[in-house]
C-alpha cells in the first residue's frame, strides 16, 4: 500500500536556526503514529509543514508527499484542496482555535458545506444541518440544539475540543493530525477525549498522527512512535518496543521520568 504521508529528508529552518533536521518517516492508510518530544523539538513544525501551513519566513526543504501530492513548494490552490480532504488538524488550544464571534453550529457547518459542495456541486441547508447534528452526535456532545446555538466561550474546554474534532471529521480526512489535543485539558477530560479519538479513528479507519510530549497519553492511542529531540528523530518503532526497551539515551530519560511519575502517583494512591 502506498504511504498516505511520506516524508523524506525534511529540513525546517528559521533563518539560520535549524528547527527540524533530516526527518524521514511515513504513515500508511489506517496506521496510527505518535510523535513524542519536548517543546521546541520540532514536532508541531512537522505537522504544520505536512499541511503546508508554515509561514513564509520559515524555510522548508526536502520532500513531503501527502496523498501522493508533493507539499513542499506546492501552490495554495493545490494545498487548499489537499487540506481537509487528505489531512485535517485538531489543535491544542480549543478556546483560541475556534472563532469566538461565530456560533458553533456555523463553524461546524463550514467544512461540511465545503465537502458537500466539492462532492456534489450544491449543498442544501438540510443536508448540511443533518450532517452537523450527526457529527455532534459522533463526538458524544449532549444537547445538540444548545451546542449549535452557543458561542465557544459558552461551553467547557472539553466540549470545545470535541467541537474541534467534529470539525476535523467533517472533512472526512484520510489522515487526522492531532497536535497536543489534550494538553490544555484537565486529566479527566483528557481521558475522555483520548477515548473518543481512539474510537473515532477505529470506526472511520483514518490514519492518525498524534503529537504530544506526554508519554502515557501517546502510548494509549498509537501503534508506532517517533521520538524527536531538537528536530532530529532519535528513535522509532512500535510503542511496546520503544517504551519497553528504549535504545537511545533520550528515550530512556523520557521513559524513566514517566515511570517515576506514575510511581509517585501510585504511592499517593491517587
Amino acid at each position: 500500500m502506498t504511504a498516505l504521508l511520506n516524508i523524506q529528508g525534511l529540513c525546517i529552518r528559521a533563518g539560520d536556526k535549524p528547527l527540524v533536521s533530516d526527518l524521514s518517516f511515513s504513515i500508511r492508510p489506517g496506521e496510527r503514529i505518535g510523535m513524542i518530544g519536548e517543546s521546541g523539538s520540532g514536532k508541531s513544525m512537522t505537522a504544520m509543514a505536512a499541511t503546508g501551513l508554515l509561514p513564509v519566513s520559515i524555510g522548508v526543504s526536502g520532500s513531503i508527499e501527502l496523498d501522493s501530492q508533493q507539499v513542499v513548494g506546492a501552490t495554495d490552490r493545490v494545498l487548499n484542496r489537499l487540506r481537509g480532504a487528505a489531512a485535517a488538524v485538531v489543535f491544542q488550544e480549543p478556546l483560541t482555535a475556534l472563532d469566538p464571534l461565530m456560533k458553533i453550529g456555523r463553524q461546524i457547518a463550514e467544512p461540511v458545506r465545503r465537502r458537500l459542495e466539492l462532492e456534489s456541486g450544491k449543498a442544501s441547508k438540510d443536508a448540511i444541518s443533518r450532517e452537523v447534528r450527526d457529527l455532534i452526535d459522533k463526538v458524544a456532545l449532549p444537547q445538540p440544539e444548545r451546542i449549535i446555538n452557543s458561542y465557544p466561550h459558552e461551553v467547557s474546554g472539553g466540549q470545545r475540543q470535541r467541537v474541534a474534532i467534529a470539525m476535523a471529521l467533517a472533512c472526512r480526512p484520510k489522515l487526522l493530525i492531532a497536535d497536543e489535543p489534550t494538553t490544555a485539558l484537565d486529566v479527566t477530560t483528557q481521558a475522555e477525549i483520548l477515548k473518543l479519538l481512539d474510537q473515532l479513528v477505529r470506526e472511520t479507519g483514518m490514519a492518525l498522527l498524534f503529537i504530544s510530549h506526554d508519554l502515557p497519553v501517546v502510548a494509549q492511542v498509537v501503534e508506532r512512535v517517533i521520538v524527536l529531540k531538537n528536530g532530529v528523530a532519535v528513535e522509532e518503532g512500535p510503542v511496546k518496543t520503544v517504551f519497553g526497551n528504549p535504545q537511545h539515551d533520550y528515550t530512556k530519560t523520557l521513559v524513566e521520568a514517566a515511570r517515576l511519575f506514575d510511581e509517585a502517583l501510585g504511592a499517593t494512591g491517587s
Binding site: A14, G15, G59, V60, S61
Partner: protein, 283 residues
C-alpha cells in the same frame, strides 16, 4: 520552496536604525534648546532685518513678518516644545500614576466610579480638554498650557496605570511578598512600579509627542503662550497669511515639529522593543 531569509534579523536591523534616528532627532532638538538658554543667533524679540526676507547668509532661514530672524525663533520654539512636552508628561505622569495606583487598591465601588470617570475623560480628545482648561483660566501662558495638557495626559496615564497595576497585583509573587512581611507601600515600590515602568515609559514617550502637537495646535489657535515665548504653532499661524510670498515660514516650523515628534515616537518604539523582546509572531 527555497528557504526565505527570515525577516527576524532584518527586523532587528530596522529597529536599531529606527532607534538611532530617533535618538539623533531628539538629541539635536535637546541640544538646540539648551543652547538657546545661553545664546541665539539674533535677538528673538526685536527686528534684525527687513520683513519677510528670503533665506540668506545673514539669516539662514530668512526673517518673519516683523523682521525677526526666523532661525532664532525656530530654536526657541524647540525649547518651548521640549519644555511643554517634558512638563506636561511630568505632571501627567505624577498625577496619573498616583491616581492609577490608588485606584487599583480602591474598594470596588470607588474603583468603578473612578474607572467610569476616567473613561469619560479619556473619550475627550486631549486638545479639547486643554482648551477647556485654558478657557477657564483667565490668562493664556505657557504654564497654563502645560498644566492643561498635563491634566489631560494624567487621565490617560491613570487609566493605563490602574489596569497595569491590577494585573501585577494579581500575580503570585505579590502574595509571596506580602506573606513575607512587606507592607503595601513596599509592594508598590518594590514590585508594582518596576514592573509597570517599561510599558508606562513607552506611553510617556508617545504622550510627549502628542503634547507637543497639542501645544502647537493651541498656539496656532491663539490659546497658547504669548509672544515672548516662541512656539512652532504660533510661528505657523503667523506665517499662514504670507505663505505665498515667504513659504519657508510655513514650512520650517512644521518640519521641526514633525522631526521632534517622529524622533520621540521612534525612541518609544525602540524602548518598547528593548523592554519586550517577545514581540512579533511566534510559530
Amino acid at each position: 520552496m527555497s528557504p526565505v531569509e527570515t525577516s527576524v534579523s532584518r527586523r532587528e536591523q530596522r529597529h536599531s536604525l529606527a532607534l538611532t534616528v530617533g535618538l539623533a532627532l531628539v538629541g539635536v532638538n535637546l541640544l538646540v534648546a539648551l543652547l538657546t538658554l545661553f545664546w541665539t543667533p539674533y535677538d528673538p524679540l526685536n527686528a534684525s532685518g527687513g520683513r519677510l526676507e528670503a533665506p540668506s547668509l545673514l539669516h539662514w532661514l530668512g526673517t518673519d513678518r516683523l523682521g525677526r530672524d526666523l532661525l532664532t525663533q525656530l530654536m526657541i520654539g524647540a525649547r518651548t516644545a521640549l519644555l511643554v512636552g517634558t512638563g506636561a508628561v511630568a505632571i501627567g505622569a505624577t498625577i496619573g500614576v498616583s491616581l492609577g495606583v490608588l485606584a487599583a487598591f480602591a474598594t470596588r465601588i470607588a474603583d468603578d466610579v473612578m474607572a467610569a470617570t476616567l473613561d469619560i475623560l479619556i473619550a475627550f480628545p486631549t486638545l479639547l480638554l486643554a482648551m477647556l482648561v485654558v478657557a477657564a483660566s483667565d490668562s493664556a501662558s505657557l504654564w497654563t498650557a502645560i498644566l492643561a495638557l498635563g491634566l489631560a495626559i494624567s487621565a490617560i496615564v491613570a487609566r493605563l496605570t490602574r489596569i497595569l497595576t491590577k494585573r501585577v497585583l494579581r500575580q503570585d509573587y505579590i502574595v509571596a511578598s506580602r506573606t513575607s512581611g512587606t507592607s503595601w507601600a513596599g509592594v508598590v515600590f518594590r514590585h508594582v512600579l518596576p514592573n509597570i515602568w517599561p510599558t508606562l515609559s513607552v506611553n510617556f514617550a508617545l504622550q510627549f509627542g502628542l503634547a507637543v502637537i497639542a501645544e502647537a495646535s493651541l498656539s496656532y489657535l491663539g490659546l497658547g503662550a504669548p509672544p515672548p515665548n516662541a512656539s512652532w504653532g504660533r510661528l505657523l499661524q503667523e506665517a499662514q497669511g504670507t505663505v505665498y510670498t515667504a513659504p519657508i515660514g510655513a514650512i520650517a516650523p512644521g518640519i521641526a515639529l514633525v522631526a521632534l515628534v517622529i524622533g520621540m515616537n521612534l525612541l518609544a518604539d525602540g524602548l518598547r522593543d528593548i523592554g519586550d523582546p517577545t514581540r512579533g509572531r511566534s510559530r
